[in-house]
């Protein structure tokens, strides 16, 4: 279980994250939503230990998170890959780095689910579309069967239909392998459809944390209601009939 307690991250004098507490159990999914600048990506960086919190404790089953070898799906799909290496080299890096053997057929099965032709992996990042690079990023994160996966806007570069297919593949792999998932997104529809719980961040603070269905039907704060209504207006959530 991922546990974050009273996390404060400061940039200069300003707190970019101010007293965040959360937990994600194994096989559970927490969706973190909020506007740009709310601190969503900072939260991921803090969990990975990429920046040092001012105060607060972050653990995975009581131990430091790094020991669990968490995987990250990065926000900028092309920038997430070494431009000089083939996608295959980058995707297989977690396997090589951890010295594990890849189960037979795993790569093929994940690629099929992500609608990524296998021969595409022999290209470099610049030779594939942004949407393909994004799915290769998801492939790289899932390949070594990590216990914890952090997703930073994993579907942002995909079209509406591919988004849903990719989200379903992630959920299927999660159901089989039981990783804990923390998904940062500004798409409330995705958050409600695939999160067990939803946490809304605003200006570095937790505005509301709730069960996904409860949140969608009756958000408590005015800001969360505005967010829910915007998602309906944009067609991400089906309107009440």
């Amino acid at each position: 279980m991922l546990t974050v307690t009273d996390l404060v991250v400061k940039r200069g004098a300003r707190a970019t994250l101010d007293g965040i507490s959360l937990s994600v159990p194994a096989a559970g999914t927490l969706a973190v939503v909020g506007e740009s600048g709310a601190g969503k990506s900072t939260l991921i960086a803090a969990i990975l230990g990429l920046l040092k919190p001012a105060t607060g404790v972050i653990t995975w089953n009581g131990a430091p998170v790094r020991a669990a070898r968490p995987a990250l799906v990065m926000q900028e799909p092309r920038a997430a890959f070494n431009p000089a290496l083939s996608l295959r080299r980058s995707v297989m890096e977690p396997i090589a780095a951890q010295g594990i053997t890849l189960a037979e057929g795993r790569l093929e099965r994940l690629c099929a689910g992500l609608e990524l032709p296998l021969d595409l992996l022999d290209r470099r990042p610049a030779q594939v579309s942004i949407g393909q690079a994004q799915r290769a990023g998801i492939l790289r994160a899932l390949i070594a069967a990590p216990p914890l996966v952090l997703f930073d806007e994993p579907l942002s570069a995909l079209d509406a239909v591919t988004q849903k297919h990719t989200a379903r593949l992630i959920a299927e792999v999660q159901a089989e392998e039981g990783f804990a998932a923390l998904i940062v997104t500004h798409d409330l529809g995705y958050a409600v459809a695939h999160g067990d719980r939803i946490m809304v961040l605003k200006d570095g603070q937790v505005e509301e944390t709730a069960d996904a269905q409860t949140f969608a039907l009756s958000p408590r704060s005015p800001y969360c209601r505005a967010l829910r209504d915007a998602a309906i207006s944009l067609g991400a959530l089906g309107a009440a009939a």
């Binding site: 409600v192 998602a231 207006s233 944009l234 959530l237």
Partner: protein, 227 residues
Amino acid sequence: MTLSVTGLSEIRAGRTILHPTSLEIEPRGRIGLVGSSGSGKSTLGHALIDDLRAQGCSVAHVPQSPDEALDPLRSMAFHWREAEVALGLVPGSADQAGLFRALRIEGGDLRKRPWGWSRGMQQRFVIAMALIGSPDLIVLDEPTSALDPIVAAATMDLLSGFPDGKDTAMILITHDLGLAARRVARLLVMQAGRVVEEGRTADILDRPQTSAARALSAHRNWIALPC
């Protein structure tokens, strides 16, 4: 005036990415151009704009990325002035304050260059430039992709309401049928460089005929709220 284009097509590297396509757009028409990535939506949008401009129509274009619309070496004030001059207006005569307020970018510093503004603000600045004057047609290519949901919804409401008392028609290019569903009266569904289905929005949502339209219709929401 009804805008009309015939036989638009595009070939790139020997591959036909847009098969001959004809289109008529009524004054004040609201058309959605939907389809998955790579189906030819933006290509048709560009071909349409070039052809209509060659016919002498005024067409405003909001490209998918603000990078395509803004020169990184010029200030935002320069871009605005250039847009006004291009429309034959006296510089400073457009209702900049009103548009900026409606799009919630009134805090932007016009002396800065595009990269001094956030992505979302750049995109709304480009939308504001498109709303100066009264073009015959505005083509919006994924106008909400860089915006937060609350701002995106407000922007789409503004665009749907525009223009008061003008004949401007609008084409919304998107991969998201959910987004288009409440904004446009007529839909064109594209697949592999062709318009494969065309009709009233409600009809295509309820009774999609082609596989492309069925896929888009089935995936238009993440989840339907049971209330």
